[in-house]
Amino acid sequence: MSLVPPDLIFVILAAVTIIGSILALQAKELIYGAVALAISFIGVAGFFVFLDAPYLAMLQIAIYVGAIVVLILFTVMLVRRGSLDEMTDRAEGGEGTVGLWLAGLLAIGIAGVAALAGPNLPTDTQPASLPVSSLGPVLVTQYPVPLIILALLLSSALLGALILAKVDK
């Protein structure tokens, strides 16, 4: 089948993202899982670039891969002791099948509904290219309340995490 370059890039990005997230959950070592998760996040950032949201893509890389993955690596390194080696993630009992059925129903259900409504959904109509500066005014004039709530939430989360992780001597 002949793939036009945008289609090829889409397929490659989808493969990277999905395989990355599968590996993140299935890898034996948590650190390899974190690296696979970082690769999956970079895949999603590539999707954002594809969707005409380059600023979001850079934010995704800077915050998710640059901060959250570092936090995860940190925690994994601090939580290393015998407890990790003797715990296996293999599902015992019926959990594996229940999880697979649940996840499969969800995913196939949503994808099926979308595919059935497929012809009614818009395909690539307008090549929209908004300037990056169009995000700023909308944030400040139309959605100022979530912005301020986000600021308060960030400070409280920072204080909360700090107090939780402090070692009481």
Binding site: I31, V35, A38, P54, Y55, M58, L59, I61, A62, V65, G66, A67, V69, V70, L73, F74, M77, P131, V132, S133
Partner: protein
């Protein structure tokens, strides 16, 4: 776009069309791969010469040419032939793969840095955010490499390096915010174009100082040398690297130095603007080497900074100065004082 060759007679014109296209020249020659490698190797020699003169010695002298200019090539050849020692029970894929990733990530932001009006590889509208997104990946790689070395000293050095680099990223971002406000765009080409009449170091002087100090901490240069403190940690997070791995890390570090210096030039020192008797890229490189000299000189002059002073400077002092400059910039822009320079 050129047409793909269909007959064997079409191949030669196709190859010539690709080789002489602007994209190819910018990616491979200037400001792309070859120029990057040459200037990075030049910077290693340059640093050793400057430090030698500060310390009243001569530096590399015998490696051929005048003043040992081929010393980096000699270093490279020596390091390639050295044995790569992977520590006991170290994590091999990470240990061998991360230096490659580091060099890749250090070279990637050069795609958006403009060396001249047309000498930019990718004219991204979110140029400066792209550079910061990529530089925020460095602490993660350093932590992974330090952990993969499976040894105490690298791990401690890696943690220290992580704390330092993460702490000094924030004043860097806020200092850049003033410049972005003055220029009105995140595109690096627009930012340099807006400095045609007035270099941003004048209205945003405090931001320039904050940015300069932050990049010295990001590059782990003296006086922010804690992750590499030789009397304590041997060599910090790259203690266990040797041979080709060390050469890659060394290259990556000097590429980062060149990257940060060219960022200072593009954001504050007017990029390629200069009198017209020299072409634009030459002005850019001259200013960048000047900034690199300013970064290299404190290594021979200042003592190492203490860790509590490091944290205090990073989190409180620099942040406050950068925010002060932000308010000064808002004031200058809103009252139209800078209008005569077109801002």
């Amino acid at each position: 776009m050129v047409a793909l060759p269909t007959t064997p007679a079409d191949i030669l014109p196709f190859v010539i069309a690709i080789v002489t296209s602007h994209a190819f020249i910018t990616i491979v020659f200037f400001p792309g791969f070859i120029h990057l490698m040459l200037i990075t190797m030049f910077l290693t020699w340059y640093e050793r010469k400057i430090l030698a003169r500060i310390q009243l010695r001569i530096g590399p002298l015998y490696a051929g040419g005048p003043g040992g200019i081929l010393q980096p090539i000699a270093d490279g050849v020596k390091l390639i032939f050295k044995e790569v020692m992977v520590p006991y029970k170290a994590d091999k894929p990470l240990f061998l793969g991360i230096p490659l990733a580091l060099v890749f990530l250090a070279a990637l932001p050069f795609a958006v840095i403009p060396f001249g009006q047309n000498w930019v590889i990718a004219n991204l509208d979110v140029g400066i955010v792209f550079v910061f997104a990529v530089t925020s990946l460095f602490p993660a790689m350093i932590l992974l490499f330090a952990w993969a070395s499976n040894s105490k000293y690298p791990f401690l050095g890696g943690l220290r390096s992580l704390f330092q680099q993460v702490a000094y990223e924030i004043p860097m971002w806020i200092a850049t915010l003033s410049v972005v406000m003055l220029a009105g765009s995140l595109n690096l080409v627009d930012i340099v174009n807006a400095q045609a009449k007035l270099w941003f170091i004048i209205p945003a002087f405090l931001s320039c100082v904050v940015f300069f100090i932050s990049i010295m901490a990001e590059l782990e240069r003296l006086p922010f040398d804690l992750p590499e403190a030789e009397p304590e940690l041997v060599a910090g997070w790259y203690t266990e690297s040797s041979g080709a791995i060390f050469m890659l890390l060394f290259l990556g570090l000097y590429m980062k130095l060149y990257l940060m210096s060219s960022l200072v030039t593009a954001l504050f020192l007017g990029g390629w603007w200069g009198p017209a008797f020299l072409p634009q890229p030459v002005w850019f490189i001259i200013k960048t080497i000047f900034v690199a000299t300013l970064i290299i000189i404190p290594r021979g002059v200042y003592p190492r900074i203490r860790v509590d002073m490091l944290i205090r400077i990073g989190w409180s002092r620099l942040l406050i100065i950068a925010l002060v400059n932000l308010f000064v910039t808002i004031f200058l822009l809103s009252t139209g004082i800078l209008a005569s320079w077109g801002l």
